[in-house]
Amino acid sequence: MKITVNGQEREAHAGESILDLCRREGIPIPTFCYHQAFGGQGACRMCMVEIKEDGQSRSRLVAACTYPLTKTAEIITESEQIQRIRRTIVMLLARRAGENPLLEELSRAYGAAHLPAITVEPANCILCGLCIHACAEMGRSAIWSMFRGVDKRIATPYDEASDDCMGCAACARVCPTQAIKVEEEDAVRKIWNKTFALVSCSRCGKYYATREELEYLSKHGDFGQQQLCETCRKKNLAYNIKTFQQ
């Protein structure tokens, strides 16, 4: 399927999203809520692009991350109105995460006006929703987006320690604004109002995971059984491959 992006012809698979095509072809489109592993959510609206499909007389604005390509089309990823939309979105989101380096940099890049900061919980959260997906992918879903409208926020039920949270911090790792607080001191990790004991690596002795996480992982496959941190696990793997090859 022939798709023209910014005047250049590209080849798209039927049904793939505009964003997937552009990422593959190295055409930059800014996003907050997109992650390769989870697909498009259509939530942040940074990825709005103009599309004119075969048979249409006018182009229209669509979210690149959710729009499926099904027929020949012309796409424009940068234009005055697209720029205007992205500038406003950055302006609005920067209020939630004013001192965050990512938003600071984007505000400068887009020349977004400065609006007074607002207090959000957790601080710096821009509600991209990636943490919810990460937790769900782990099979836990300890957090979700609670309430609605301007009160919407990511939380555990009742803002209390959740039985479903195993302290793996996958949520914190995908967060683009470092809004999810992970406090670690010696053998203790605190996250989402819950305290976890950390397990140390059987080889190097570094604290690297919570007991709950390791128990869960070992139940769902043989991960975690050797009690190795990421570095030592990779070393181990490399060693095994080498031995096998010899």
Partner: protein
């Protein structure tokens, strides 16, 4: 009215007591009960009149309404104490109870029937055709007025495609807001691949200031059900859902009974009218979220998820409920379907404008004399509705604007009163048809506050998923609040427009894309009022508390004391028949005195 004469199986007298929400709040149920009990005390009456509780007649202003057939007499504001007199004089002796008749405010004549009033004469009822005429709990009442004949006609003599062609030819467009051509929607669903398809009736009416769907579900539930069955037959669906707003208890009650009755009669179930056609309906009570009026959010809600919409680049007609092709239409749309199928598309298409056919039900409310439900042909002007049917602005104040389309719509000024209303004309005027709320506003309504009110409504009703809607609404609300408190600046107006642009262009669903309409339409037509708030720190309507300082003009005040009685904080003092005074140190600027004074003695500084 020939149709009503045929209502009973004989020419027995019939007493129709309106038990719509409005009349019930005014004691309609008690009146109904009084008729039932009092008639028992008249053994001399050989054939007892039939007493029926009906749905909303739409004329809530004059309720409780009691109608007597076959003579077509309408009594207004009836109290249980009036019932004996009605029985003795009218039912037994055939004499009218004059004091209960409606008195035309212009001609001063007493009118025997509500059908003779301006409020009704100018209406054209299709969707509301049965409401007030039948007992919504009795399937026979519906059948006697031609109900389920369209279903017989379709199932026994038409192919599914022919039903769709009929709807297409009628020009029917969705009554829920967007005005999408109904036939086209059905066609897409029929053409979609797959054997399992669904029909949904969207009864999650949420526009503040609109209640037409409620009245239809409460007053004529079978027309909705018959419409859905016809739709199911046309697209090939075997299951349907009615998603009803949780607050609408009475609607749920009547719909539940109607579905059961229809099933018992063979209009629903595994072998409808012995044709082998299978279709059934489940009732779902909404969770209470305005955003669920949006198709994809409604589907999420039925599937047991939070009502967050998703991008509709693939329409629900292809991938809807449980991923299957689904047709969603609103209550009023379904109510039109049986009429179109039964009488053919031509008579429907003959009504209305070039691109908006048929009629539209409006809930006419706010500062207007006759409040209630009105159904008029598309293309009727706002002036006809507000002045001829509605009787003009309340208390003879001056008309300022009419809000149409709820939070997705806008405010239309006096200059556009002669606008013939249809889907397209309202959109061009910066508003929207929406589901049909018409809220009349007078000079005591502040347009900045109206915009702020809608944005505040949406702040709590947006699902909060996408940035432009959630953060845009938050910012609009802050700016409008600032302006209404006298803290706004000229630059705020540009900011309102800039944020609105992004919301319109980039929001995920229609809620966000239309959310700026109340702001943009008031900025377009009432910019001076914004400027007056910003530059002169004055709210000309006397509504914004921070900007309204009231005083009593001693030359005009006659000391009636109404203002003092209504003052919440006892800030008004004065001797009877002497000019009163407001104590500025106590006054909370609520404006209640300003609105209550019948002599305009209270002024705005």
């Amino acid at each position: 009215m020939q149709t009503e004469m045929n209502l009973g199986s004989d020419d027995r007298q019939t007493v129709l007591v309106c038990c719509g929400t409005g009349c019930t709040a005014n004691g309609g149920r008690e009146v109904f009960n009084a008729f039932e009990t009092s008639l028992q005390d008249h053994p001399e009456i050989q054939v007892l009149p039939v007493v029926k509780a009906t749905g909303c007649n739409g004329w809530c202003e004059k309720g409780p309404l009691v109608r007597l057939l076959p003579r077509d007499i309408t009594y207004c504001s009836v109290a249980p104490a009036d019932v004996d007199e009605i029985i003795n004089k009218t039912l037994l002796d055939g004499v009218l109870v004059k004091r209960l008749l409606y008195r035309d405010p212009v001609s001063k004549e007493h009118l025997t029937s509500h059908h003779l009033t301006d409020f009704y004469r100018k209406q054209h009822k299709i969707a509301l055709r049965n409401i007030g005429e039948i007992d919504p709990g009795q399937i026979d009442d519906y059948v006697q007025r031609g109900g389920y004949q369209a279903l017989q006609k379709a199932l026994l003599g038409m192919k599914g495609q022919e039903v769709i062609d009929t709807i297409k030819a009628s020009g029917l467009r969705g009554r829920g807001g967007g005005g999408f051509p109904t036939g086209q929607k059905w066609q897409a669903c029929r053409n979609a691949s797959g054997n399992t398809k669904y029909i949904i009736c969207n009864g999650d009416e949420g526009d503040p200031g609109a209640f037409m769907d409620r009245s239809i579900m409460e007053g004529d539930p079978h027309t909705v059900i018959e419409g859905m069955i016809l739709g199911a037959y046309a697209v090939g669906a075997s299951h349907g859902y009615i998603y009803v707003r949780d607050e609408y208890d009475l609607a749920v009650q009547y719909l539940r009974k109607a579905v059961d009755d229809a099933r018992q009669r063979g209009y629903l179930g595994n072998n409808i009218l012995n044709t082998g056609f299978v279709f059934d309906i489940d009732l779902i009570r909404g969770g209470g979220a305005f955003v669920c009026g949006e198709e994809t959010a409604l589907i999420a809600s039925i599937e047991g998820r939070v009502g967050e919409p998703h991008d509709k680049y693939i329409f629900p007609t292809e991938k809807g409920l449980w991923g299957k092709p689904t047709v969603i239409n609103n209550v009023e749309t379904w109510a039109n379907v049986p009429v179109i199928v039964l009488h053919g598309p031509a008579s429907f298409a003959a009504i209305g404008t070039a691109n908006s056919k048929g009629t539209k039900v409006f809930s006419l409310v706010g500062k207007v004399v006759n409040t209630g439900l009105v159904e008029v042909p598309m293309g009727t002007t706002l002036r006809e509705i507000i002045y001829e049917i509605g009787g003009g602005v309340l208390k003879k104040r001056s008309f300022k604007a009419v809000q149409t389309g709820g939070p997705s719509g806008g405010c239309i000024p006096a200059e556009l009163l002669d606008l013939p209303i249809d889907f397209d004309s309202l959109t061009e005027a910066g508003s929207m048809m929406g589901s049909g709320g018409l809220i009349v506003m007078d000079d005591r309504t502040c347009m900045v506050e109206v915009a702020r009110y809608y944005v505040n409504f949406l702040a709590g009703e947006s699902c909060g998923k996408c940035t432009p809607c959630r953060e845009g609404i938050r910012a609009l609300l802050e700016i409008l609040t600032r302006i209404s408190e006298g803290q706004g600046s000229i630059g705020d107006l540009d900011l309102l427009e800039d944020i609105s642009f992004t919301m319109q262009q980039a929001s995920l669903c229609a809620l966000g894309r239309t959310a700026p309409n109340p702001v943009l339409s008031t900025l377009r037509y009432f910019r001076e009022e914004y400027l007056e708030h910003i530059e002169q720190h004055r709210c000309p309507a006397g509504v914004c508390r921070a900007l309204s300082i009231f005083y009593i003009d001693p030359e005009v005040c006659n000391g009636c004391g109404v203002c003092a009685r209504h003052c919440a904080v006892n800030a008004i003092q004065g001797e009877k028949k002497q000019a009163h005074v407001i104590d500025e140190s106590i006054c909370i600027h609520c404006g209640e005195c300003y609105r209550q004074c019948a002599f305009d003695a209270i002024k705005l500084r």
